[in-house]
């Protein structure tokens, strides 16, 4: 109930401050350009009925967009002092964190929904109508959504670290980047031996690719759930720590 109150307030803020409109339109413009206009990545030039480009480019766009959404969450409440107001109301830190997190997840969903149009376009455009791998696309969408929510949790945590939104944004981008491809890159450093397998498993990339094959593996789901929960837990620790 109180989570819903926080959720409603955050979504309201997204839409009244134009953040939501700008984020969603930037995402869609970027996606539209990559998928249909830029010759290097255009589906029309490529000639295959697939949405691979979408799922390759979208994580990189999310890398910047999601932190831009989440940087406000706690940084602004701290700067304005309203955090004191909320944290002295009978609301638990978890309720506050979950309300804000769900608002972010909702907006990510809101970004992704319009891209279903691309799916139907490619579906219709195929030489043999409907000749595309719908299972893989469904898996990719799930992966992309989970990646977005993981970024959202990371960004929310970064926002608890500073009362300056720009600092929160930079920290979030860095952390998201590190989890997205950092582990993967480190694992390729030679001389790590058997550790490289573990490092790859720690990064988002491996699990994202695995889901995009269209096989919903419980290990990947578990990975995303734990990563998201881990950063929400860190945020909670951070809020609790600030009371001392």
């Amino acid at each position: 109930m109180k989570i819903r109150t926080i959720l409603a307030k955050e979504i309201n803020e997204f839409f009244s401050s134009l953040t939501a409109y700008i984020t969603v339109s930037l995402f869609l413009i970027a996606m539209g350009l990559f998928l249909w206009v830029f010759p290097d990545t255009s589906i029309l030039e490529y000639g295959y009925a697939s949405l691979e480009t979408l799922f390759q480019v979208a994580p990189w766009v999310f890398l910047f967009l999601v932190p831009a959404l989440t940087m406000r969450f706690f940084a602004e409440e701290k700067r304005m002092g309203t955090l004191e107001l909320i944290l002295t109301a009978p609301v638990s830190q978890w309720q506050l964190i979950l309300g804000k997190f769900l608002a972010g997840a909702f907006l990510i969903l809101f970004c992704l929904l319009p891209t279903l149009v691309y799916y139907f376009t490619v579906y219709e455009l195929g030489e043999v109508r409907g000749n595309l791998d719908s299972g893989a696309i469904a898996g990719s969408y799930l992966g992309l959504f989970l990646l977005g929510t993981a970024f959202c949790a990371i960004g929310l945590f970064a926002s608890t670290l500073s009362s300056n939104q720009v600092v929160a944004f930079m920290l979030a981008v860095f952390l998201c980047f590190f989890f997205w491809s950092g582990f993967d890159s480190i694992s390729r450093v030679a001389s790590l031996g058997a550790v490289d397998f573990i490092l790859v498993q720690l990064g988002i990339y491996e699990h994202y690719v695995s889901l995009s094959r269209g096989v919903i593996d419980s290990r990947d789901l578990l990975y995303f759930a734990s990563l998201t929960f881990f950063f929400l837990l860190l945020s909670k620790q951070r809020l609790e720590g600030a009371r001392w």
Partner: protein, 231 residues
């Protein structure tokens, strides 16, 4: 109503509140005085559950501020220092939001009652960011009153108000003090003489005076006492 025992809070090495002990019984307006940095706000923040004490205990309405923080919060209406508000929210939207956080169902009559009580009426259709300082202060107080708490903790409720607004605000606080326990901090001595029945003066985190107002007035006036004990 409020019982504080040996309450201590440190920020790093600096001791902000130093083994503070006092009791406040119900239906009383208590003035919390002290120079800037004496630990007034820190004390109020510990009572409201925003900060945790390093040692000692405090209880509001019989509930411990650390172990039963949620119950304490339900019992308290809190106006933080500098009265933080969401500038983009409309007055009623804000009150409904804060009410919902206190677990209240959307209650138009209660909201309108509080708006009338605090004199927000003429400005209640505006956004909080568009309000003048005086009306913003009223909105902060309205938020604290909304769930009808038995205890009000007001951190400098009258700072930055013009003389007319001051009078209105003081009348309201005096009215509220008839049925609620009010702790307010202020730097204006006349205000304390007008409003409070009991006075606590803290200096460098320690209690230096804990007396009924008439006793302090008899000692040579509040201002003299304040200067003497906080030097």
């Amino acid at each position: 109503m409020i019982e504080v025992q040996e309450l201590t809070k440190k920020y790093g090495k600096q001791v902000a509140v130093d083994r503070l002990s006092f009791r406040i019984s119900g239906g009383n307006v208590v003035g919390l005085l002290g120079p800037n940095g004496a630990g007034k706000s820190t004390t109020m923040r510990m009572l409201s559950g925003y900060l945790l004490p390093d040692s000692g205990t405090a209880a509001v309405g019989g509930f411990d501020v650390v172990k039963e923080s949620m119950r304490v919060r339900e019992h308290i209406g809190y106006l933080p220092e500098n009265n933080p508000l969401y500038p983009h929210m409309y007055v009623r939207e804000y009150l409904h939001f804060m009410g919902a956080l206190h677990g209240m169902k959307k209650d138009r009559r209660r909201t309108e009652h509080v708006i009338e009580l605090t004199g927000l009426g003429p400005e209640s259709h505006k956004k909080l960011g568009q309000l003048s300082k005086g009306y913003r202060q009223r909105a902060g107080l309205a938020q604290a009153l909304l769930h009808d708490p038995p205890v009000l903790i007001l951190d400098e409720p009258t700072s930055g108000l013009d003389p007319n607004q001051l009078t209105g605000m003081r009348e309201l606080i005096r009215e509220l003090g008839k049925e609620k326990t009010v702790i307010l901090s202020t730097h204006i001595m006349q205000e304390v003489e007008l409003l409070c029945r009991h006075v606590l003066i803290i200096n460098k985190g320690k209690i230096v005076a804990n007396d009924p107002l008439p006793a302090l007035v008899a000692e040579g006036g509040l201002e003299d006492v304040f200067r003497r004990v906080t030097r």
